[in-house]
Amino acid sequence: MLVTQTKLSPAAADEGGGTAQTSPGQEAQAKATRPGFSTVEWGALVAQVKAGEDAGMEHLYKLFSRGIRYYLCRQLGPQELEDKVHDTFLIVVNAIQRGDLREPERLMGFVRTVVRRQVAAYIENAVHTRREQTDLESGVTVVDRKQNPEQEAMARQKTEVMKNALSALSQRDRDILVRFYLKEQSQEQICREMALTETQFRLLKSRAKAKFGEIGKKKLASNGLFSVFVRAHAG
């Protein structure tokens, strides 16, 4: 079930702007105040890691662990996630210590390259293992990603609120959302088929989402699901 997807990065669920209740028009402000990494001294960090200092290691791990976890989970699923995060982190540290990263400012891109290679390696390994095991096993083991009853009830409730909110939209606004989110049509296709300019599309989509967020907020005030769309009203 789509709505049952595990949170990709368990930590800091209520940090940042994603789940905060922000009003329309506050996107720019929220963007400016979002915690980031612009103040990180990449040179110092890389030097610390290269020297094997604990502070550097800790900082590196704190900086990248959640992002790496999210990325790996999105690409590979939640199985053995912690091990994969740890393996990736070790590869990055070892590479830095070997002097593979010559320009510390490129640390983020470097980490991305390592993570992508890790994903490719895991997939290749999974394919290889599956081929080898095909002769031995008649079935395929599938990880059970069912939610517990409470989570299912919550997901059900969210879906019902979503349906109510969708019903309250105009046919045109609803059509835009259905095309974009459900049918996953590109913006260009939607614009072409609905005779919209890109600006019109963005405005209509953001207005529909904002309306959606308002309705959802009223009906599910305690839930953060709809807050992102209130913010989207800005644009």
């Binding site: 990065s9 994603g18 992002g67 983020m108």
Partner: protein
């Protein structure tokens, strides 16, 4: 070199989650989110919305489809063809259920039986109630029992009547299966539960 420090916009995030990002945009957002917890949180919230929206939209689509099908079915009932078929079916049902009750029953066929078994067979119509008048010459007046049996001696019907003026009359229900039958006249006597057989008439149902 890209400026990966910039937080991606909502639109960029949506394209990322819907796998619609171009190469450059993908590189930028993937690199950014590796080191930005707040954007990971935004992505998670957005993903949850998209997932929930997809489920809701699918359900709404299914519900709408079901309604449309039901409506079509209802409308199709009112087409000329359907109405004709429905009318024909109703007429047949009416005929089966009601008409037989309204139809008058066959009047009872009058049958005079005068000969004993073996000497003469009276032919009676199949499926008609019978009003039988039996010759009772030389028999004392009084109550008698009438029994109808088939050629095997199996009893089909039994009733009572009386001999009066050298004759006994009885109404028996219709016999549906053609073949030879016998109408027996008994008089009850003490010591014989079956009674004395006074007469036996042969009839042929056709």
């Amino acid at each position: 070199m890209h400026d990966f420090v910039e937080h991606p916009t909502e639109d960029v995030m949506e394209r990322f989650l819907l796998h619609q990002s171009g190469d450059e945009e993908l590189e930028a957002i993937e690199t950014h989110i590796l080191a930005c917890e707040s954007c990971v949180s935004r992505l998670e919230a957005l993903q949850e919305f998209i997932d929930t929206a997809k489920v809701a939209m699918r359900e709404m689509h299914l519900e709408a489809t079901e309604k449309a099908v039901q409506k079509q079915k209802r409308q199709s009932w009112f087409s000329v063809k359907s109405l004709s078929l429905a009318g024909a079916a109703a007429a047949i049902a009416l005929a089966i259920a009601v008409v037989p009750r309204l139809m008058p029953n066959h009047p009872a066929a009058n049958v005079d039986l005068s000969a004993y078994r073996g000497l003469e067979r009276t032919v009676v119509p199949k499926g008609w109630p019978l009003h039988i008048r039996m010759n009772a010459n030389d028999l004392a007046e009084g109550p008698v029992e009438i029994e109808v049996v088939d050629r095997e001696g199996t009893e089909l019907w039994k009733g009572n009547t009386a001999i009066l003026h050298e004759s006994a009359e009885v109404n028996i229900p219709k016999i549906k299966v053609p073949g030879p039958y016998f109408v027996r006249v008994y008089r009850a006597v003490d010591g014989n539960p079956e009674g004395d057989l006074l007469r036996e008439f042969a009839v042929q149902v056709r």
